[in-house]
Amino acid sequence: MEEIVLNSGDTAWVLASTALVLLMTPGLAFFYGGMVRAKSVLNMMMMSMITIGIVSVLWVIYGFELAFGYKANSPWYGNISFSGLGTMVNDFTNNGGIYPIPVLVFAAFQLMFAIITPALISGAIADRTKFTAWAIFVAIWSTLVYFPVAHWVFAFGNKVGDTVTGAGFLASKGLEDFAGGTAVHINAGAAGLALAIVLGKRVGWRKEAMRPHSLPLVMLGAALLWFGWFGFNAGSALAANGTAGLAFMNTQVAAAAALLGWLLVEKLRNGHATSLGAASGVVAGLVAITPACAFVAPWAAVLIGLSAGAICALAVSVKYRIGIDDSLDVVAVHLVGGIWGSLCVGLFGSKAVNSLGVDGIFYGGGTSLLAKQALGVGVVLAYSFVATLIIGFIIEKTIGFRVTKDAEVEGIDLSEHAESAYEMTSSSHGGLN
């Protein structure tokens, strides 16, 4: 057997990608923070920051082992054991095949995914969530939802000869989710829907204006997310190679096309192309291309992005019809975009661009890949939604999930963090509420 040696090029790219993916979470904090009112921007950003703190520590204690361990040989979870990570410095990553990058680098890369997924949920429950309840939710949700689901989707197991142990059940069934359309975006989107139901509407929702207080912050956040997403998608190749290059190019063109798709819908529907629409379109496109980025050709990525931008732009209005205050449209962007992108793999997937992939409907592969994609979408959506509802209701009934009405009206920054983001004059306070 050929001896495996560390590949410094691959390792360097995954290390750099890891830092890029971390940057997405503070980027998300800006993206979400700009969209809330001036009285709750700090709380919105803190929901992302505390998630970085909690999940990083859990990852070292047991998270990585629960998601990517294979010793329990379970399709449902990795291994219930202390992660420690100290013994992994000189081991090579083994995830369905041996990669010449250290396990520790893979663990750090995957940690960033585990961080941003719960952080994404926070947008659904803006302005009203008790901070300690959120922190407890993040710990429980990561443990019971994200770590197992990451195992289902991302763990390809320990391969010795033809024997694979401990692969996740969706990965084994042939779900193609390159960077987390199901495990990250559908997972977070379904959880966001569940929590928006548990917490209920904000005081004054639909009666008073809840305008984004700083669109430049939203733009900054979108820029950081876009930049970081190259690590998210192209880094998921776990190598500096052509697959990473394909994922990189597809990430760019899908985001760009989705920006155009969203703006087109806005221009036709409302008469104006807005900056919030541009930022939202970019994120919708990035979400949709995430599962597909290394399985489709760039022309297909353009179509996926364009359609995702338009579909998500139409989906944001649904919450008003069903009366669920998903405050920052986590469902319309992440759940809808994630579903669309995951299903698109079944349409546009091509063996020609990635020999590890399978042909979709448009490449003569028939409906079998689409069926696998639909299974992955359905299973992750259903599990995340139900599990989050249960976790959410338990927190609501025990310690309470919401701040008091007075605190919410006065501003959650003040009540939960004893801070205010801006010095407000009475006139600007009136305008910004």
Partner: protein
Amino acid sequence: MKLITGILKPSKLDEVKDALQAAGVAGMTVSEASGFGRQRGHTEVYRGAEYTVDLVQKVRIEILVDDKDCAAIVDVIVKAASTGSIGDGKVWTTPVDSIVRVRTGETGPGAI
């Protein structure tokens, strides 16, 4: 002594200020204001949701003047601030009982 108060379009502030300086006014106070009058607000759209913004941004200027200068200075403000369209604002005057210059303790018209 009178206090002249004007609620004006922010875009006309510089012209008003220049005209007042040219007319010999030595000082004024400017603050941000918002409100509504006959000019209606506007509509903003965020992710397809339309919001009506009723309160329009304005500036408030305040100037202390001697009784004999009052009418002429109001004229200067109105002329400089006018665009002829709805939303140009209002200017009004109120009597002032006393004025003290903080640094010197001067009172009355001499403190203007």
